[in-house]
Symmetry: C2
């Protein structure tokens, strides 16, 4: 059983990261989505262990101290983070694990897992992004403005990602993401063992 | 029209490079196979411009002097090389171009086209390789021995290639090669223009 790939997916809110990641679960059943931990209170309909792991601030801080997060951050007074243990277990079991996180989180992952694959999801255009964020109809003008500003800021980190995934239409994006996973598994540096086995067979 | 990918394919004789490359032509019609130039005499059935460009030694040496080869070498008194002009034209026209060349040639290409994609084709095992080379029934024991020795030598350069393509069965190898091409086209460093266009649209 070879170790799974750690796939880090970022991109501006409204680019469609969540939709792509959920579609990948159906497209490649061996994929797992990492579940984040948070100290924020559960919202209506959110399920413990599925939406998030809901933790107390004490528990969360204890985990930070014990370095049990791959990445973590504090937004608006709430902590969010990716617990290392589950991710490690799933990778070891041969599952490819997707972390859907922001650019700052992704850079923390990069320093700890340099072998991870970094994918930046882009909307077809900035206008399209604006349309998608406004179109949700759930956000206030301030939040919309904030999201668009964040998007601009995140774009400046694109070159730290390995791949650009243009979300022009979902099926195409899922196919392309799948090709990225197939190709990454063939990279020479991930196949030392296969090469060794074949060389040993002579 | 975006520039095509330069795909360099190497691997021991008997690994099935040629079969994979020809199958890729049918699988992805935009692919072109590079035709080598040589000073060796045409064999029965070989076609000028399809099998090789058959050149005189004077012509070949003149092209070496004018740096008109991407890579070249001399084997058993005959010159072999990849003319730069055709490859450049096809890449510029958006075709992905496959060069099926040996490790030494590949390293020459790498120094001139660092953006090229390097794929090393492996047989499932060394025994399988031996079986395939012997199985052809066209080679003398000396040639077989020589090929197997060369294979061992070439293996030591595997880590200079980006991808390992295990030729366990042809359809699988072709699918995987195709995923490599799809994924490489999404690499951030190849998409500066797309990113620029999207950033400019804001």
């Amino acid at each position: 059983m070879s170790r799974g790939l750690l796939l880090v997916v970022s991109g501006p809110s409204g680019a469609g990261k969540g939709t792509i990641c959920r579609a990948m679960l159906e497209h490649r059943p061996s994929i797992r989505l990492s579940v984040s931990a948070t100290t924020r209170k559960p919202r209506e309909g959110e399920v413990e262990g599925l939406s998030y792991f809901f933790l107390s601030e004490d528990t969360f801080r204890g985990m930070i101290d014990r370095k049990e997060f791959i990445e973590w951050a504090c937004f608006c007074g709430n902590y969010y983070g990716t617990p290392r243990a589950t991710v490690e277990e799933q990778l070891a079991a041969g599952h490819d694990v997707i972390l859907e996180i922001d650019v700052q989180g992704a850079m923390q992952v990069k320093s700890k897992f340099p072998e991870a694959v970094f994918v930046f999801v882009l909307p077809p255009s900035y206008e399209e992004l604006e349309k998608r964020i406004v179109g949700r109809g759930t956000e206030s003008p301030e939040v919309i403005h904030e999201r668009l500003e964040t998007a601009k800021r995140e774009y400046t980190h694109i070159e730290k990602y390995n791949y650009i995934l243009l979300n022009d239409y979902i099926d195409g994006a899922v196919e392309r993401f799948s090709a990225i996973i197939d190709a990454e598994k063939l990279r020479t540096e991930r196949n030392a063992e296969t090469i060794h086995t074949i060389l040993e067979s002579k």
